[in-house]
Protein backbone atom coordinates (compact mmCIF):
# COMPACT_ATOMS: atom_id res chain seq x y z
CA UNK A 1 0.00 0.00 0.00
CA UNK A 2 2.84 2.43 0.91
CA UNK A 3 4.71 1.61 -2.32
CA UNK A 4 1.70 2.37 -4.54
CA UNK A 5 1.20 5.88 -3.19
CA UNK A 6 4.93 6.73 -3.55
CA UNK A 7 4.88 5.66 -7.20
CA UNK A 8 1.83 7.90 -7.80
CA UNK A 9 3.79 10.93 -6.49
CA UNK A 10 6.67 10.33 -8.84
CA UNK A 11 4.31 10.27 -11.85
CA UNK A 12 2.70 13.59 -10.97
CA UNK A 13 6.07 15.34 -10.48
CA UNK A 14 7.30 14.05 -13.83
CA UNK A 15 4.35 15.51 -15.72
CA UNK A 16 4.68 19.12 -14.50
CA UNK A 17 7.90 20.24 -16.39
CA UNK A 18 6.37 19.12 -19.73
CA UNK A 19 3.42 21.33 -19.26
CA UNK A 20 5.50 24.42 -18.33
CA UNK A 21 7.50 24.12 -21.55
CA UNK A 22 9.90 27.14 -21.86
CA UNK A 23 10.53 28.97 -25.18
CA UNK A 24 7.00 29.93 -26.07
CA UNK A 25 5.95 33.54 -25.56
CA UNK A 26 3.71 33.81 -22.58
CA UNK A 27 0.22 34.88 -23.53
CA UNK A 28 -2.56 35.83 -21.15
CA UNK A 29 -4.18 32.54 -21.88
CA UNK A 30 -1.03 30.64 -21.36
CA UNK A 31 -0.32 32.60 -18.19
CA UNK A 32 -3.75 31.68 -16.84
CA UNK A 33 -3.22 28.16 -17.97
CA UNK A 34 0.23 28.13 -16.26
CA UNK A 35 -1.23 29.44 -13.01
CA UNK A 36 -4.06 26.98 -13.15
CA UNK A 37 -1.57 24.29 -13.82
CA UNK A 38 0.66 25.35 -10.94
CA UNK A 39 -2.35 25.40 -8.69
CA UNK A 40 -3.26 21.96 -9.91
CA UNK A 41 0.25 20.80 -9.20
CA UNK A 42 0.08 22.26 -5.69
CA UNK A 43 -3.21 20.51 -5.08
CA UNK A 44 -1.77 17.34 -6.48
CA UNK A 45 1.33 17.68 -4.30
CA UNK A 46 -0.82 18.16 -1.22
CA UNK A 47 -2.94 15.19 -2.17
CA UNK A 48 0.20 13.26 -2.75
CA UNK A 49 1.66 14.23 0.64
CA UNK A 50 -1.62 13.27 2.22
CA UNK A 51 -1.52 9.91 0.50
CA UNK A 52 2.04 9.32 1.69
CA UNK A 53 1.03 10.29 5.21
CA UNK A 54 -1.99 7.98 5.10
CA UNK A 55 0.04 5.18 3.67
CA UNK A 56 2.59 5.60 6.45
CA UNK A 57 -0.21 5.53 9.01
CA UNK A 58 -1.71 2.47 7.44
CA UNK A 59 1.70 0.84 7.52
CA UNK A 60 2.03 1.64 11.22
CA UNK A 61 -1.44 0.29 11.93
CA UNK A 62 -0.58 -2.84 9.99
CA UNK A 63 2.66 -3.25 11.94
CA UNK A 64 0.86 -2.88 15.25
CA UNK A 65 -1.79 -5.30 14.16
CA UNK A 66 0.93 -7.76 13.23
CA UNK A 67 2.38 -7.50 16.76
CA UNK A 68 -1.03 -8.06 18.30
CA UNK A 69 -1.66 -10.98 15.97
CA UNK A 70 1.64 -12.57 17.00
CA UNK A 71 0.85 -12.10 20.66
CA UNK A 72 -2.60 -13.50 20.08
CA UNK A 73 -1.23 -16.52 18.27
CA UNK A 74 1.30 -17.15 21.03
CA UNK A 75 -1.48 -16.90 23.59
CA UNK A 76 -3.68 -19.19 21.52
CA UNK A 77 -0.88 -21.75 21.35
CA UNK A 78 -0.54 -21.53 25.11
CA UNK A 79 -4.27 -22.00 25.57
CA UNK A 80 -4.32 -25.00 23.23
CA UNK A 81 -1.45 -26.55 25.23
CA UNK A 82 -3.32 -25.91 28.47
CA UNK A 83 -6.47 -27.40 26.97
CA UNK A 84 -4.63 -30.58 25.97
CA UNK A 85 -2.89 -30.61 29.34
CA UNK A 86 -6.19 -30.33 31.19
CA UNK A 87 -7.72 -33.08 29.07
CA UNK A 88 -4.75 -35.30 29.86
CA UNK A 89 -5.24 -34.65 33.56
CA UNK A 90 -8.94 -35.43 33.32
CA UNK A 91 -8.18 -38.71 31.52
CA UNK A 92 -5.67 -39.76 34.14
CA UNK A 93 -8.03 -38.80 36.91
CA UNK A 94 -10.91 -40.70 35.35
CA UNK A 95 -8.68 -43.75 34.93
CA UNK A 96 -7.62 -43.53 38.56
CA UNK A 97 -11.21 -43.28 39.72
CA UNK A 98 -12.21 -46.28 37.59
CA UNK A 99 -9.34 -48.37 38.94
CA UNK A 100 -10.10 -47.21 42.45
CA UNK A 101 -13.78 -48.12 42.12
CA UNK A 102 -13.01 -51.55 40.67
CA UNK A 103 -10.54 -52.20 43.46
CA UNK A 104 -13.06 -51.09 46.07
CA UNK A 105 -15.81 -53.29 44.63
CA UNK A 106 -13.46 -56.25 44.55
CA UNK A 107 -12.45 -55.57 48.14
CA UNK A 108 -16.07 -55.31 49.23
CA UNK A 109 -16.91 -58.61 47.57
CA UNK A 110 -13.95 -60.28 49.27
CA UNK A 111 -14.91 -58.78 52.62
CA UNK A 112 -18.49 -59.96 52.27
CA UNK A 113 -17.31 -63.50 51.46
CA UNK A 114 -14.93 -63.39 54.38
CA UNK A 115 -17.73 -62.19 56.66
CA UNK A 116 -20.04 -65.00 55.52
CA UNK A 117 -17.29 -67.57 55.99
CA UNK A 118 -16.52 -66.24 59.45
CA UNK A 119 -20.18 -66.25 60.40
CA UNK A 120 -20.51 -69.85 59.24
CA UNK A 121 -17.40 -70.82 61.17
CA UNK A 122 -18.74 -69.15 64.27
CA UNK A 123 -22.08 -70.91 63.97
CA UNK A 124 -20.25 -74.21 63.51
CA UNK A 125 -18.20 -73.56 66.62
CA UNK A 126 -21.13 -72.52 68.75
CA UNK A 127 -23.21 -75.50 67.63
CA UNK A 128 -20.29 -77.76 68.44
CA UNK A 129 -20.23 -76.27 71.92
CA UNK A 130 -23.93 -76.91 72.44
CA UNK A 131 -23.56 -80.57 71.44
CA UNK A 132 -20.54 -81.08 73.70
CA UNK A 133 -22.31 -79.48 76.65
CA UNK A 134 -25.44 -81.47 76.08
CA UNK A 135 -23.37 -84.65 76.25
CA UNK A 136 -21.47 -83.49 79.35
CA UNK A 137 -24.49 -82.28 81.34
CA UNK A 138 -26.34 -85.53 80.70
CA UNK A 139 -23.66 -87.33 82.73
CA UNK A 140 -23.03 -84.77 85.43
CA UNK A 141 -25.28 -83.28 88.05
CA UNK A 142 -24.15 -79.93 86.69
CA UNK A 143 -27.11 -78.02 85.33
CA UNK A 144 -27.37 -75.72 82.37
CA UNK A 145 -28.25 -72.93 84.79
CA UNK A 146 -24.89 -73.38 86.52
CA UNK A 147 -23.02 -73.00 83.24
CA UNK A 148 -25.12 -69.98 82.30
CA UNK A 149 -24.45 -68.26 85.63
CA UNK A 150 -20.71 -69.03 85.39
CA UNK A 151 -20.71 -67.49 81.93
CA UNK A 152 -22.47 -64.35 83.17
CA UNK A 153 -20.12 -64.02 86.17
CA UNK A 154 -17.11 -64.48 83.90
CA UNK A 155 -18.37 -61.79 81.51
CA UNK A 156 -19.09 -59.44 84.41
CA UNK A 157 -15.62 -59.91 85.95
CA UNK A 158 -13.87 -59.57 82.57
CA UNK A 159 -15.78 -56.36 81.88
CA UNK A 160 -15.06 -55.00 85.37
CA UNK A 161 -11.28 -55.45 84.98
CA UNK A 162 -11.45 -53.52 81.70
CA UNK A 163 -10.99 -56.20 79.02
CA UNK A 164 -12.16 -55.28 75.50
CA UNK A 165 -15.64 -56.45 74.44
CA UNK A 166 -14.23 -59.02 72.02
CA UNK A 167 -12.29 -60.77 74.79
CA UNK A 168 -15.25 -60.55 77.16
CA UNK A 169 -17.35 -62.43 74.60
CA UNK A 170 -14.61 -65.00 73.94
CA UNK A 171 -14.06 -65.63 77.65
CA UNK A 172 -17.82 -65.97 78.05
CA UNK A 173 -18.48 -68.62 75.42
CA UNK A 174 -15.26 -70.42 76.30
CA UNK A 175 -16.11 -70.63 80.02
CA UNK A 176 -19.12 -72.90 79.48
CA UNK A 177 -16.78 -75.64 78.23
CA UNK A 178 -14.60 -75.78 81.33
CA UNK A 179 -15.88 -79.22 82.40
CA UNK A 180 -16.36 -80.94 79.02
CA UNK A 181 -13.59 -83.41 79.95
CA UNK A 182 -15.90 -84.91 82.57
CA UNK A 183 -17.57 -86.87 79.79
CA UNK A 184 -14.71 -89.35 80.26
CA UNK A 185 -15.00 -89.48 84.05
CA UNK A 186 -16.80 -92.60 85.35
CA UNK A 187 -20.29 -91.88 86.72
CA UNK A 188 -19.66 -93.46 90.13
CA UNK A 189 -16.84 -91.00 90.80
CA UNK A 190 -18.72 -87.97 89.47
CA UNK A 191 -21.82 -88.76 91.49
CA UNK A 192 -20.01 -89.89 94.60
CA UNK A 193 -21.44 -88.31 97.75
CA UNK A 194 -18.55 -89.23 100.02
CA UNK A 195 -14.91 -88.28 100.16
CA UNK A 196 -12.84 -89.44 97.16
CA UNK A 197 -9.93 -91.80 97.57
CA UNK A 198 -6.57 -90.63 96.21
CA UNK A 199 -7.00 -92.97 93.22
CA UNK A 200 -10.42 -91.51 92.51
CA UNK A 201 -8.98 -88.01 92.83
CA UNK A 202 -6.35 -88.84 90.19
CA UNK A 203 -9.18 -89.81 87.87
CA UNK A 204 -10.99 -86.52 88.58
CA UNK A 205 -7.83 -84.54 87.73
CA UNK A 206 -7.84 -86.19 84.34
CA UNK A 207 -10.96 -84.26 83.22
CA UNK A 208 -8.89 -81.06 82.85
CA UNK A 209 -6.49 -82.79 80.46
CA UNK A 210 -9.26 -84.61 78.60
CA UNK A 211 -11.17 -81.34 78.18
CA UNK A 212 -8.16 -79.63 76.60
CA UNK A 213 -7.65 -82.56 74.21
CA UNK A 214 -11.34 -82.74 73.27
CA UNK A 215 -11.30 -79.09 72.26
CA UNK A 216 -8.90 -79.84 69.39
CA UNK A 217 -6.57 -77.26 67.91
CA UNK A 218 -8.84 -74.65 66.29
CA UNK A 219 -8.16 -71.02 67.15
CA UNK A 220 -11.83 -70.65 68.08
CA UNK A 221 -11.30 -72.97 71.08
CA UNK A 222 -7.90 -71.64 72.16
CA UNK A 223 -9.24 -69.89 75.25
CA UNK A 224 -11.61 -72.76 75.97
CA UNK A 225 -8.66 -75.19 75.98
CA UNK A 226 -6.74 -73.02 78.44
CA UNK A 227 -9.81 -72.76 80.68
CA UNK A 228 -10.49 -76.51 80.58
CA UNK A 229 -6.87 -77.27 81.45
CA UNK A 230 -6.35 -74.61 84.14
CA UNK A 231 -9.63 -73.90 85.89
CA UNK A 232 -8.63 -76.03 88.89
CA UNK A 233 -5.21 -74.42 89.23
CA UNK A 234 -4.69 -72.19 92.28
CA UNK A 235 -3.02 -68.79 92.65
CA UNK A 236 -0.64 -70.29 95.28
CA UNK A 237 0.37 -73.19 93.00
CA UNK A 238 -1.48 -75.86 95.05
CA UNK A 239 -4.01 -76.67 92.32
CA UNK A 240 -4.16 -79.33 89.59
CA UNK A 241 -3.32 -80.79 87.10
CA UNK A 242 -0.04 -78.87 86.56
CA UNK A 243 0.46 -76.91 89.81
CA UNK A 244 0.80 -73.63 87.89
CA UNK A 245 0.88 -70.49 90.02
CA UNK A 246 -0.04 -66.80 89.68
CA UNK A 247 0.21 -65.38 86.20
CA UNK A 248 1.34 -68.74 84.80
CA UNK A 249 -2.38 -69.48 84.81
CA UNK A 250 -4.25 -67.75 81.97
CA UNK A 251 -6.46 -64.82 82.97
CA UNK A 252 -9.49 -66.57 81.50
CA UNK A 253 -8.95 -69.66 83.69
CA UNK A 254 -8.35 -67.51 86.79
CA UNK A 255 -11.64 -65.72 86.18
CA UNK A 256 -13.53 -68.98 85.57
CA UNK A 257 -12.08 -70.41 88.78
CA UNK A 258 -13.67 -67.63 90.88
CA UNK A 259 -16.99 -67.83 89.04
CA UNK A 260 -17.20 -71.64 89.08
CA UNK A 261 -16.35 -72.03 92.76
CA UNK A 262 -18.70 -69.23 93.82
CA UNK A 263 -21.61 -70.73 91.90
CA UNK A 264 -20.88 -74.24 93.19
CA UNK A 265 -20.87 -72.92 96.78
CA UNK A 266 -24.12 -71.00 96.37
CA UNK A 267 -25.93 -73.87 94.58
CA UNK A 268 -27.47 -76.99 96.03
CA UNK A 269 -25.60 -80.21 95.32
CA UNK A 270 -26.43 -83.84 96.22
CA UNK A 271 -23.85 -83.70 99.03
CA UNK A 272 -24.60 -80.16 100.33
CA UNK A 273 -27.14 -77.39 100.65
CA UNK A 274 -26.83 -74.07 98.86
CA UNK A 275 -24.78 -71.51 100.78
CA UNK A 276 -26.08 -67.98 101.08
CA UNK A 277 -24.48 -65.26 98.91
CA UNK A 278 -22.88 -63.86 102.05
CA UNK A 279 -21.28 -67.20 102.93
CA UNK A 280 -20.16 -67.69 99.34
CA UNK A 281 -18.61 -64.22 99.19
CA UNK A 282 -16.81 -64.77 102.49
CA UNK A 283 -15.28 -68.00 101.22
CA UNK A 284 -14.13 -66.33 97.97
CA UNK A 285 -12.63 -63.40 99.94
CA UNK A 286 -10.74 -65.81 102.20
CA UNK A 287 -9.33 -67.49 99.09
CA UNK A 288 -7.78 -64.26 97.76
CA UNK A 289 -4.05 -64.76 97.22
CA UNK A 290 -4.41 -68.48 98.05
CA UNK A 291 -6.87 -70.15 95.71
CA UNK A 292 -7.74 -67.01 93.71
CA UNK A 293 -6.08 -64.05 91.99
CA UNK A 294 -6.58 -61.26 94.60
CA UNK A 295 -7.29 -58.65 91.94
CA UNK A 296 -10.13 -60.76 90.54
CA UNK A 297 -11.52 -61.27 94.04
CA UNK A 298 -11.58 -57.48 94.48
CA UNK A 299 -13.41 -57.09 91.14
CA UNK A 300 -15.87 -59.80 92.17
CA UNK A 301 -16.54 -58.03 95.48
CA UNK A 302 -17.47 -54.83 93.64
CA UNK A 303 -19.89 -56.87 91.51
CA UNK A 304 -21.45 -58.18 94.70
CA UNK A 305 -21.57 -54.67 96.18
CA UNK A 306 -23.30 -53.08 93.18
CA UNK A 307 -25.90 -55.86 92.92
CA UNK A 308 -24.62 -57.42 89.68
CA UNK A 309 -24.20 -60.88 91.23
CA UNK A 310 -27.71 -60.88 92.63
CA UNK A 311 -29.18 -59.65 89.36
CA UNK A 312 -27.43 -62.42 87.40
CA UNK A 313 -28.78 -65.04 89.81
CA UNK A 314 -32.30 -63.71 89.47
CA UNK A 315 -32.12 -63.40 85.67
CA UNK A 316 -30.73 -66.89 85.12
CA UNK A 317 -32.90 -68.43 87.86
CA UNK A 318 -34.02 -71.82 86.78
CA UNK A 319 -33.59 -70.97 83.10
CA UNK A 320 -32.50 -73.94 81.07
CA UNK A 321 -29.29 -73.86 79.10
CA UNK A 322 -29.89 -73.62 75.37
Amino acid sequence: MADDSQRMTVEVVEVSPNIAEPGEAPTVASEVFRQLLQQAIRVADQANAQSVRMAADFAEIYRREQVIRNEYEAKLKELRLMERQTTRYAEDLAQMLRTERERREELERALEQERLANEELRRTGLQGISHLLLAATLKDQTTGAHLLRVRRYVEAIATRIGLPAQLVEEFGYSSVMHDVGKIHTPDHILQSEHHLSSEEFEVIKQHCIDGEVMLGDARFFETARAIAREHHERWDGQGYPDGKRGSEISVAARIVSVADVFDALTSKRPYKDAWTLEEGMRSISEGAGKQFDPELVEAFKTLRADGTIERIRQEVGAARFE
Binding site: E78, M82, R84, Q85, R88, Y89, E91, D92, Q95
Partner: protein, 130 residues
Amino acid sequence: MSAYHPVMATLLVADDLVPIRQMVRITLSTQGWTILEAKNGTEALDIARSQKPNLILLDVDMGPGPNGFEVCKMLKADAATKEIPIVMLTAHESDSDRAIGMAAGATQYLTKPFGPLELIDTIRGILAHN
Protein backbone atom coordinates in the same frame (compact mmCIF):
# COMPACT_ATOMS: atom_id res chain seq x y z
CA MET B 1 23.41 -35.78 46.98
CA SER B 2 23.98 -38.98 48.91
CA ALA B 3 21.16 -41.00 50.45
CA TYR B 4 17.82 -39.36 51.04
CA HIS B 5 14.37 -40.70 51.56
CA PRO B 6 12.22 -40.09 48.46
CA VAL B 7 9.40 -38.76 50.62
CA MET B 8 11.64 -35.94 51.85
CA ALA B 9 12.62 -34.74 48.35
CA THR B 10 12.62 -31.08 47.29
CA LEU B 11 11.89 -30.48 43.59
CA LEU B 12 12.30 -27.39 41.42
CA VAL B 13 9.87 -26.76 38.58
CA ALA B 14 10.86 -24.12 36.00
CA ASP B 15 8.13 -23.01 33.58
CA ASP B 16 6.98 -19.59 32.39
CA LEU B 17 3.31 -20.62 32.47
CA VAL B 18 1.64 -20.16 35.85
CA PRO B 19 -1.06 -22.82 35.24
CA ILE B 20 1.57 -25.41 34.31
CA ARG B 21 3.54 -24.65 37.46
CA GLN B 22 0.35 -24.94 39.51
CA MET B 23 -0.56 -28.29 37.95
CA VAL B 24 2.91 -29.67 38.55
CA ARG B 25 2.94 -28.38 42.12
CA ILE B 26 -0.49 -29.85 42.93
CA THR B 27 0.42 -33.16 41.28
CA LEU B 28 3.76 -33.57 43.02
CA SER B 29 2.63 -32.34 46.42
CA THR B 30 0.45 -35.48 46.60
CA GLN B 31 3.72 -37.39 47.03
CA GLY B 32 4.79 -35.35 50.03
CA TRP B 33 7.53 -33.59 48.07
CA THR B 34 8.41 -29.92 48.59
CA ILE B 35 8.05 -27.89 45.38
CA LEU B 36 10.11 -24.80 44.47
CA GLU B 37 9.13 -22.70 41.44
CA ALA B 38 11.04 -20.65 38.85
CA LYS B 39 9.37 -18.67 36.07
CA ASN B 40 12.40 -18.39 33.74
CA GLY B 41 15.85 -19.77 33.07
CA THR B 42 17.70 -17.22 35.18
CA GLU B 43 15.55 -17.90 38.23
CA ALA B 44 15.94 -21.64 37.67
CA LEU B 45 19.75 -21.32 37.76
CA ASP B 46 19.65 -19.17 40.92
CA ILE B 47 17.36 -21.52 42.84
CA ALA B 48 19.16 -24.65 41.65
CA ARG B 49 22.47 -23.25 42.93
CA SER B 50 21.18 -21.89 46.23
CA GLN B 51 18.66 -24.60 47.22
CA LYS B 52 20.22 -27.72 45.66
CA PRO B 53 16.90 -29.48 44.97
CA ASN B 54 16.83 -33.28 44.59
CA LEU B 55 15.47 -32.99 41.05
CA ILE B 56 14.67 -30.26 38.50
CA LEU B 57 11.83 -30.12 35.98
CA LEU B 58 12.75 -27.81 33.09
CA ASP B 59 10.56 -26.25 30.43
CA VAL B 60 12.39 -25.23 27.22
CA ASP B 61 10.77 -21.95 26.12
CA MET B 62 10.62 -19.70 29.16
CA GLY B 63 10.68 -16.19 27.68
CA PRO B 64 13.78 -13.98 27.95
CA GLY B 65 17.02 -15.38 29.35
CA PRO B 66 18.51 -18.84 28.82
CA ASN B 67 16.13 -21.53 27.55
CA GLY B 68 15.73 -24.92 29.22
CA PHE B 69 18.39 -26.65 27.12
CA GLU B 70 20.90 -23.92 28.00
CA VAL B 71 20.00 -24.03 31.70
CA CYS B 72 20.46 -27.80 31.66
CA LYS B 73 23.88 -27.49 30.01
CA MET B 74 24.99 -24.85 32.52
CA LEU B 75 23.90 -26.90 35.54
CA LYS B 76 25.67 -29.98 34.19
CA ALA B 77 28.84 -27.96 33.65
CA ASP B 78 28.81 -26.75 37.27
CA ALA B 79 30.40 -29.18 39.75
CA ALA B 80 28.01 -28.02 42.49
CA THR B 81 24.87 -28.91 40.52
CA LYS B 82 25.88 -31.54 37.97
CA GLU B 83 24.59 -34.44 40.12
CA ILE B 84 21.03 -33.07 40.24
CA PRO B 85 18.87 -35.14 37.87
CA ILE B 86 17.02 -33.02 35.31
CA VAL B 87 13.75 -33.87 33.60
CA MET B 88 12.88 -31.81 30.53
CA LEU B 89 9.16 -31.04 30.40
CA THR B 90 8.31 -29.35 27.14
CA ALA B 91 5.89 -29.05 24.24
CA HIS B 92 8.83 -29.64 21.87
CA GLU B 93 8.10 -33.19 20.88
CA SER B 94 10.33 -33.76 17.85
CA ASP B 95 13.08 -36.38 17.97
CA SER B 96 15.71 -33.75 17.27
CA ASP B 97 14.59 -31.67 20.28
CA ARG B 98 14.64 -34.79 22.40
CA ALA B 99 18.17 -35.51 21.20
CA ILE B 100 19.23 -31.94 22.09
CA GLY B 101 17.76 -32.32 25.57
CA MET B 102 19.47 -35.64 26.25
CA ALA B 103 22.75 -34.28 24.85
CA ALA B 104 22.43 -31.35 27.27
CA GLY B 105 22.51 -33.88 30.09
CA ALA B 106 18.83 -34.41 30.92
CA THR B 107 17.97 -37.69 32.69
CA GLN B 108 14.51 -37.85 31.15
CA TYR B 109 12.58 -36.03 28.44
CA LEU B 110 8.80 -35.69 28.89
CA THR B 111 6.49 -33.88 26.47
CA LYS B 112 3.43 -31.76 27.16
CA PRO B 113 0.68 -32.50 27.66
CA PHE B 114 2.16 -34.73 30.36
CA GLY B 115 0.17 -37.31 32.32
CA PRO B 116 0.23 -36.68 36.08
CA LEU B 117 0.77 -40.36 36.82
CA GLU B 118 3.52 -40.57 34.21
CA LEU B 119 5.19 -37.54 35.81
CA ILE B 120 4.96 -39.01 39.31
CA ASP B 121 6.23 -42.42 38.17
CA THR B 122 9.15 -40.88 36.29
CA ILE B 123 10.23 -38.80 39.29
CA ARG B 124 9.76 -41.69 41.72
CA GLY B 125 11.91 -43.88 39.49
CA ILE B 126 14.71 -41.33 39.32
CA LEU B 127 14.61 -40.56 43.06
CA ALA B 128 14.63 -44.27 43.93
CA HIS B 129 17.65 -44.73 41.69
CA ASN B 130 19.78 -42.16 43.50
